[in-house]
């Protein structure tokens, strides 16, 4: 089965072959490296840019305005903060021109902690991204979702941000379904599409015949059904929530885990249906907690589902500190940990109104 990063690469390949992608570009995106996480190896439209994020997003906007189909990469979302105004402008192309222009571009960027990235390679971007109207924003937690969301992102005529949890890029877990058309064997897939170490100047990928699989935006996935508590989450925290749910089930608490997958638009119907069922909800993400995206979801839950709840709705998020420190003890103290999540789930389950 493909890893998340292989799934992204396969989707970009399909994008080039069938969905009109004209450019996959950014720092180190093109040959020989094919991306610092290998996500763009072997792609025929991949090229390297200057070390200039404003030029990357600006050029993507220009390409999109001119009818090309760009997929731009910012190497780490930590480097995207110097171009927020251009992101706003991209998001405003259709609105400010009253629909005269559109901006069909994809911006992909690795997000989140979990690889000892230290202060400048561990930021989240969900709060920033969801504050920019005009963008659709997705974050996969497993290979099949990464594949399907990337295809939908490419096909969408609007600017779409594809936030890739960097700690999950080399993993396969989370959804035990193959990308339709991928080879049965991991080693076969790797031989076909992973660039060799060393000299790769003559290497060409042998792309498997993967099929279309579009995941619509605004549709969450219930990755674990449960009766007692709901946890609404996305990205790397889906893995943490699932592990915490296993810990909680050992003491008789049956947890439902919802992977939003799509932050804008998001699946309010799924959240509402689950909260109505379990009466107890935790919003979980690793972004810093002040004016966090989870706070929006929690606010809406309070307003619209107040009398359905048997416990105050909770958020677990990252600590509001300027960065995630490198030492393991610092990182552990900065983002939600499995045992913390399990403890909150048990508290919620035990809470009586």
């Amino acid at each position: 089965m493909a890893t998340v990063v292989q799934a992204i690469r396969l989707a970009l390949h399909v994008g080039e072959e069938r969905l009109g992608v004209t450019d996959v570009f950014g720092q180190d995106v093109g040959p020989p490296l094919g991306g610092v996480f290998t996500q763009s190896q072997g792609l025929k439209t991949a090229w390297n840019t200057p070390l200039d994020e404003r030029g990357i997003i600006g050029t993507a906007i220009g390409l999109a305005l001119a009818g090309q189909r760009p997929v731009a990469e910012i190497q780490f979302c930590d480097y995207a903060f110097n171009m927020i105004d251009l992101l706003k402008l991209a998001g405003g192309v259709s609105w400010s021109s009253a629909g005269d222009w559109s901006c069909p571009m994809v911006l992909m960027t690795p997000v989140g902690s979990g690889i000892r990235g230290s202060i400048y390679h561990s930021h989240s971007f969900d709060a920033q991204a969801t504050r920019i109207p005009g963008w659709k924003i997705v974050m996969p937690s497993n290979p099949l979702d990464a594949y399907g969301l990337m295809l939908s992102a490419i096909a969408d005529p609007n600017p779409v941000m594809f936030l890739a949890p960097k700690a999950l890029l080399r993993t396969k877990a989370g959804r035990n379904e193959r990308i339709p058309g991928e080879p049965d064997d991991d080693r076969t897939l790797s031989k076909m599409i992973d660039a060799p170490l060393g000299d790769r100047s003559k290497w060409r990928p042998d792309w498997p015949d993967v099929q279309d699989f579009f995941i619509p935006f605004g549709k969450a996935r219930v990755c674990r059904e449960g009766r007692d508590v709901t946890v609404v989450t996305y990205g790397r925290m889906v893995v943490v929530a699932t592990q915490a749910a296993e810990l909680a089930s050992a003491v008789g608490v049956d947890v439902e885990v919802i992977d939003l997958r799509s932050l804008h638009p998001y699946d309010w119907d799924a959240i509402r249906a689950s909260v109505r069922k379990t009466k107890r909800v935790l919003f979980l993400n690793e972004d810093t907690e002040v004016t966090n995206f989870g706070e929006h979801l929690l606010r809406r839950t309070v307003e619209e589902l107040f009398y359905e709840l048997y416990a105050p709705p909770r958020i677990l998020a990252g600590a509001h500190v300027p960065g995630i420190g490198l030492a393991d003890s610092l990182e552990r103290a900065s983002v939600p940990q499995t045992d913390q999540v399990a403890a909150v789930l048990r508290e919620l389950a035990a809470h009586q109104p």
Partner: protein, 350 residues
Amino acid sequence: MSTNPSRHPTATPAEEPPLSTEVLLCLHDAMLRARCLEERLIRMNKQGDGFFWVGGPGEEALNASLGLLVHKGCGPEYDYLHLHYRSTATLVAMGADPMDTLRQMKSVATDPYSAGRNFCNHYSIHRWNVAPVSSPIEVQFSMAPGTALANKRASGRGITIVQGGDAGTAEGDFSTCLLWCSRPGHELPCLMIVTNNRWGISTLSSDQLAPKHIVDRAKPFGIKTAVIDGNDPEVSYRELKKAMDYVRTEGRPFLLEATVSRLYGHSSASGANFVPDEPDCLVLFENKLEERKLLSRQAMDDLRAKYTQELLDASKRVRDEPQPKGDDIWKHIFAERDGASKPSPKSPSG
């Protein structure tokens, strides 16, 4: 930095074939219509008939020349324009209906550029490749390499033209454009124009920018440059054409710096009062036309009176057009279909 418009090294009208009378009269007509339009917009603002004015009175010579020379159309075979909010005369010369500018000034729902959402002179015309103008300074220079790349791939005549002021060249986006348009082996067909009116609101650029000429910054990138008198429409037209022909045939970037005047200050925020001690390109040109007996003073005065009256009448008609409804804020956040290669049915007339 030289502020004397008659001492620019590239302006040698005596050695160049003169522009035809037809072109000269077209230039004058566009410049005059643009000036009358700006005067009407300023009056509308001062009478409470529009919240804010910003525009380009004083830049008509350069901007009208550009508008007449643009290879106009939709898609990468035509020129892309990344303009800023002083480009009124360019749009007038291209054939935009001044009534549409008044619509945007009055924020009516029938404003074809932004449906009442944007400031006046913030144009957006997909069918003419006029990318949406925004207020943030210099951002258009980061986007220009993208359309230029599309022009290059289309292998037609189309080039990308991006324009901004002198103060804005301090922004990183200006460097981005120089750099991205000149990547070795991947040079882009992009004409960068800096209209140098010497000011950034209240700050003199000569207090902030060290280079003697802004074009000096392009030379290390191997970008061809010129500094011209943007207050002279004959020089502007000729030099713009040369620069555009270079970009079209060589497929390489060009940076043109044009000295222009700023005749009504920065915007309504700084009073929008006439500044009498800067060269007025329209007055200077009309004197020449009169001397050469191409247009009489009477004919020019009649034309000005005609345009002034037409715009006054139009400004009254626009008051009757509907304001957008509150619920309209939800329209056009997202495109429903892929429209990047085709203009939407809502494109303005003209």
